[in-house]
């Protein structure tokens, strides 16, 4: 251990708008090792990576590269120090040729420099040969397949003399064969002394490719272990071993009839396959899964945002076709979208107008708005949800994140929905607002609303749900009862492991 590690990040902290993404994350990378970095959605992997690549400035902690402390990190500084990152979605310029794309990362001449076309092509060909790729340097990058584009990116990183290579879920959309190719390239790089941080949700491939593994949970580094010393179940336990400290205001509710039922629902555009699910009045069904498992896509299909092309949606036993959100709302469905900053509320609009936006019919007579009624209703809901604001006629942009989310939720409650779909309802909001929203969900269930809650937070899923449906690859792989659902089981299913394994994980 005397040798100086290639990269060492110590006690990194970072918070975004009051929410702590990293509490104390550390990572040590040696030259010539493949170091796996794993953790649930939101554990802080991307934030840590962004700090290393200089995209994000940490609040605290120390970053050393080859023993030297890095100050004033920026993408430019990180690149000069030999850090390169390759993301799941290749970031090449599709209109430029392969050689030009590689040159962009490698050539240092300024805007006025002249292009040495021949040298550029030759170097591109050499670098591509080093990663074992047979790709024409003159081809347009946009015409390459995804795995080919990845190899071009790796070649570019090599050309820039990268010593630290970060691979963010590189195999997420690769075939078995392409994955093996990539692994061969990774092994070659390892022999050349490149240190690689390897992020993946595919735990089964880690023993094949990784030397060590670091587990992040809730923004903290839990442990770093030799890959040969841990098995998959131990890894899962390290990932989820989160204290269920928060008390969830869950109440026993008398369940009513099935309100929403999905039968063999499929939607090619959203990648949804054969989904069967039912939600009863008063029931909260949690929809768990990794980002990209199809949870949001499923919600969008039910709400009429993406066309359903097979199967059926039934409301109170009656098959319905929902072609647009307007139709969904008329049928009593409400959908609180994820990422309220983007489309959950209209930031420039007043709080009152935001709350009534989906219920304009209810506050107007023959199309003419009744401002008095609007003020009453909006004020009513703003009070009921505890929106902290001096007045309801200020723009929503003036509110904090948690209060914006309450406005978004008020809008949907005012429509008096019988089915309420919540997509990451408490993501990125402060603790107080979070538990208020949880309490509200319980109240709604008690009033007989059928609630479908998408969440990436396992404690929230386990704490609030009567049943947990776990999605993987666009399908629901298992539906667990509240009593049977554990963090380990849900995570293992979300990672795509089969039921038998899950059973043994539970017994562990």
């Amino acid at each position: 251990m005397a040798e100086v590690p290639l990269l060492r990040a110590t006690d990194m902290t970072k918070s975004y708008a009051g929410v702590q993404a990293l509490k104390s994350a550390s990572l040590e990378l040696r030259a010539g090792e493949v170091h796996a970095l794993i953790g649930e959605n939101g554990a802080g992997k991307s934030t840590l990576i962004k700090i290393i690549t200089g995209a994000v400035e940490p609040d605290g902690g120390e970053l050393r590269i080859e023993g030297k402390t890095v100050t004033n990190n920026s993408p430019r500084v990180a690149k000069a120090l030999g850090v390169a990152a390759i993301y799941q979605q290749p970031a090449l310029f599709p209109e430029l040729t392969v050689a030009e794309n590689i040159a962009l990362g490698v050539e240092e001449s300024g805007m006025g420099g002249r292009v040495d076309w021949r040298g550029r092509r030759k170097r591109a060909a050499e670098l591509l040969a080093q990663v074992g790729a047979r790709i024409d340097p003159d081809a347009d990058a946009g015409d390459l397949t995804m795995p080919q584009q990845q190899l071009v990116e790796i070649a570019r990183a090599l050309g820039a003399d990268a010593k630290v290579l970060i691979l963010d879920e590189p195999t997420a959309s690769l075939s078995e064969e392409d994955t093996q190719n990539l692994f061969n390239v990774i092994r070659t790089l390892r022999e050349r002394g490149v240190g690689m941080v390897y992020i993946s949700h595919r735990l089964e491939e880690l023993p094949v490719i990784a030397d060590r593994v670091t587990v992040l949970r809730d923004g903290r580094t839990i442990d770093t272990r030799l890959m040969s010393e841990v098995n998959r179940q131990q890894l899962i336990q390290m990932m989820v071993g989160r204290e269920l400290s928060a008390v969830f205001p869950k109440r026993e509710v008398q369940l009513g009839d099935v309100v929403l039922e999905l039968r063999d629902l499929g939607c090619a555009e959203g990648g949804i396959k054969n989904v069967n699910l039912s939600v009863r009045a008063g029931e909260i069904v949690g929809l768990a899964g990794l980002v990209g498992a199809g949870r949001t896509e499923l919600a969008r299909a039910v709400f009429g945002l993406t066309p359903v092309d097979s199967g059926q949606i039934l409301l109170r036993g009656e098959p319905v076709r929902i072609g647009s959100p307007a139709e969904g709302i008329r049928r009593g469905i409400a959908y609180l979208p994820e990422d309220r900053r983007r489309h959950g509320v209209i930031l420039d609009m007043q709080i009152g107008a935001n709350i009534t936006l989906a219920s304009l019919d209810r506050i107007s007579r023959r199309g003419v708005l009744d401002f008095k009624r609007e003020k009453e209703l909006a004020g009513d809901y703003a009070r009921r949800l505890g929106v902290k604001t001096p007045a309801i006629y200020v723009p929503v942009a003036t509110l904090s994140g948690g209060n914006q989310q309450k406005v978004a939720l008020s809008r949907w409650l005012l429509t008096k929905p019988s089915v309420l779909i919540l997509d990451e309802p408490t993501q990125g909001i402060d603790v107080g607002a979070k538990s208020e929203i949880h309490a509200l969900m319980t109240d709604l269930a008690a009033e007989g609303v059928a609630v479908l809650m998408i969440s990436s937070e396992l404690p929230e899923i386990l704490g609030m749900s009567d049943r947990v449906a776990v999605m993987y690859g666009g399908a629901i792989v298992e539906i667990l009862d509240r009593a049977d659902a554990t963090q380990e089981k849900v995570l293992a299913l979300a990672l795509g492991h089969d039921a038998a394994e899950v059973a043994s994980a539970g017994a562990d």
């Binding site: 509320v345 209209i346 007045a391």
Partner: protein
């Protein structure tokens, strides 16, 4: 609170008052009845088109084909009158024709999702050249006697034209504020996807707004045409610029979601008065366009400055709220 919400309109109004006071001091004859009447009459058609343009800009689009639509409607009104269509039927015919041309834009922009600047640029050229080809550049002459001034006599018709323009402005202003549809216009312009998630159909709103734009252009063309004894085949050149400028000077955001028709009225008045005012003060009217350009730039720059100031204030408020909720 109320004042700060309309500060863009207020600053345009202030500029207008300053202009009027300055001109009044330098050349009191500016406020003669005849001059004021001419100003109102000349600007009434522009105001009508600017009302439609306000709606289009509020939903985050733009229509630069209105000048050509205006020409088509003018010529069509003349032809229909010559064919013996009674004056009472001219209005619905021209409204319909305008609405149809607007619907073409609306369908292409709303439903096919083509960028409005390109669609309406194409229409600007297409309608204008089609009209030139059909008319061979000839004016519509030999109109029936009851075409000019609607056969109502000059004074009454002049009051009517100005009254209709202001009435339309008031009506649309009321609708924008009081109808669910008006709310939808603002919502779509602020964030079309968020509006869609709230059950509004942005495509329909965009289509409807372009159709109204066309109908209002038709109305403006008719009210303008009856002032003369012949209809020129090249009417309305540069009308789109006047309308867009009035809306922007009136404080609307070119990106959509913010603006009022009162602002547009002030903007149209300010830009429409400048040229005449210059003549009265004795400045060469060739400066008119340059000064109008400067006013538009000033409006945009002050908008950016105000926006920046607002964000700073909003930032402070957010911090306070977050602290209070802890």
């Amino acid at each position: 609170m109320k004042f700060s919400r309309y500060k863009r309109e207020l600053s345009a109004a202030l500029a207008y008052v300053v202009l009027l006071v300055a001109v009044g001091a330098a050349a009191p004859t500016f406020f003669g009845a005849g001059n004021l009447r001419d100003l109102a009459l000349n600007n009434a058609p522009v105001l009508l088109v600017a009302v439609g343009m306000t709606l289009v800009i509020l939903v985050g689009e733009i229509d630069i084909s209105v000048g050509s639509q205006f020409a088509v409607c003018s010529v069509a009104a003349g032809w229909l009158a010559k064919e013996g269509v009674p004056v009472a039927l001219l209005l619905p015919s021209v409204l319909l024709l305008g609405a149809l041309m607007g619907a073409v834009n609306g369908a292409l922009v709303g439903y096919l999702r083509l960028p409005s600047i390109i669609v309406t640029l194409a229409m600007l050229v297409a309608w204008r050249d089609a009209l030139r080809w059909v008319t061979q550049g000839e004016w519509v002459q030999g109109l029936p006697p009851d075409f000019q001034w609607f056969g109502l006599g000059q004074t009454l018709a002049q009051w009517l034209i100005v009254g209709v323009a202001l009435g339309v402005l008031v009506a649309f202003s009321w609708m924008l504020r009081n109808l669910g549809a008006g709310r939808a216009v603002y919502a779509v312009g602020s964030d079309a996807e968020a509006a869609r998630l709230a059950g509004i159909e942005p495509r329909r709103v965009v289509f409807g707004v372009f159709m109204l734009m066309g109908a209002l252009t038709g109305l403006a063309a008719l009210l303008n045409a009856v002032r003369f004894s012949a209809v020129p085949s090249n009417a309305g050149i540069g009308l789109e610029l006047k309308a867009v400028a009035a809306v922007v000077v009136g404080g609307a955001a070119i990106t959509g979601g913010r603006g009022t028709l009162v602002g547009t009225l002030i903007g149209a008045a300010l830009l429409g008065t400048i040229g005449t005012a210059l003549t009265f003060v004795g400045i060469n009217p060739f400066w008119e366009k340059a000064i109008q350009g400067a006013i538009i730039l000033a409006a945009l720059v002050s908008d950016v400055a105000l926006g920046h100031f607002e964000r700073m204030r909003v930032g402070g408020l957010t911090l306070k709220t977050a602290g209070a909720s802890k």
